[in-house]
Symmetry: C2
Subunit: 226 residues, 2 copies
DNA sequence: GATAAAATTTAGACTTGTCTAAAAAATGTT
DNA sequence: AACATTTTTTAGACAAGTCTAAATTTTATC
């Protein structure tokens, strides 16, 4: 299905992307305040923008009830995610950036308008299926192909072994910490223990033992092998 | 010399770039109307923007007298030109775009903010010296290195032979016409005749004879070999 | 050198996206 | 169910960048 050819401002695109990210797989509506916090803006600004985006039929908006993306809105969001992730692959694979350095640049590049550009970039990169953080890249039709089952490390039992398939994108500090302990996509990981009093985990990464807080563990996704 | 780290809007960058392009090698001041025409906007809008850019010390502006870029302003302009041309090389060399297809996309990409990105891109491309239209690419210090002498075809005498070193960037129609007659950078070209009544030229391109209007010939630059 | 024409600036207005402060609706608590 | 709290919306304002129309300055012409 072709994506719609609306002209959206960067600001509009950022709202759509944020709503999509907050929605996840559920189709509950997103509240004004939640979105305001995500966008680092005020609720009143969000209300104004929601009215505009509803006018453009990218989402449905009911006063005091938050919003939900329409089919069109979701397609726009997926298109932006696709661009963001392909550019991240370009930056890491071709320009030798670290995975902790690419987010901000990709936030700019994701707004470049040219379907041809992004399709040729995808081909140039060899049709990658995931970005440098392990997040899946939707294809031209907006479908996420064969996503392998991933579990958050924090939801796994003691004794679980697995391969690191993904980490949360976003904060350079977090990714730099992973660099420091040499955790990468593909690393072998085992949960050696869980400390009940604070929920932190003792883990073994490629043979090296370290400790993760629950919060940190929640940002790491593995494919269990046992 | 490091380029300044101002935050400029896309609009401000576009004005700076246009003023730089209109200035050429001379340092005459650029008139409000000329700039308005170039930017496809109104003179009153230009006046407002010139005041703002003068405030930021990117140009000097005297009422009713037009403007001139400052050293800083010129550096900003050169940085934008550098980005534009490197992205054009990327699009043509790596993503297989035609030289007639890249201008518009590069107009967007040139506003991406990241010195590291553009320096790594330059390295990835093998430090190209010219863009796909033969225009020189300034280095990190903002210098245009060893520009070979180029003459506009329209300024050459009958009998001149040369190599096509550059063509004017901008209009896809013009570049598509050059594709049709198979004129490329590096083509051998000879001026067989000049028709005095309309100023048009009879030229031989890689052995094929064709005719150029004076206006068209002015947009083609050669390095004379005889 | 006066005057007409052209170029340029000013004044006031509009749009986009944001803000603060106040009003209105929804939610939670007893 | 009534009241308090939280969430959300409205109203009015502001900055950026643009516009039109009117005023001003420069330039060209007689």
């Amino acid at each position: 299905m072709p994506r719609s050819q609306y002209h959206l401002t960067q600001s509009e695109e950022n709202y759509i992307k944020a709503i999509f990210a907050l929605s996840g797989s559920s189709d509950d509506s997103i509240s004004t305040n939640l979105l305001a916090e995500r966008m680092s803006t005020k609720a009143s600004s969000v209300t104004d923008m929601l009215k505009k985006l509803a006018e453009k039929e990218l989402l449905t908006y009911t006063k005091y009830q938050g919003c939900t993306l329409t089919e069109t809105g979701r397609n726009v969001a997926i298109s932006i995610v696709r661009k963001h992730r392909l550019w991240e692959v370009f930056l890491v694979d071709k320009l030798q950036f670290g995975w902790d350095e690419v987010h901000e640049i990709a936030e700019q590049l994701e707004h470049i308008q040219s379907a041809q550009l992004i399709n040729r970039l995808e081909e140039f990169l060899g049709f990658p299926k995931v970005d440098p953080h392990g997040d899946p890249i939707p294809n031209r039709e907006g479908k996420f192909e064969n996503i392998p089952a991933r579990s958050s490390l924090s939801s796994c039992e003691i004794g679980t072994k697995g391969i690191v398939m993904g980490v949360e994108d976003g904060s350079p500090e977090f990714l730099q910490y992973l660099n420091r302990i040499e955790l990468k996509l593909g690393s072998e990981i085992e949960i050696a223990d869980k400390l009940s009093f604070d929920g932190s985990l003792v883990v073994i990464i490629d043979g090296r033992t370290t400790q993760f807080s629950h919060l940190l563990a929640a940002k790491i996704f593995i494919q269990p092998t046992s």
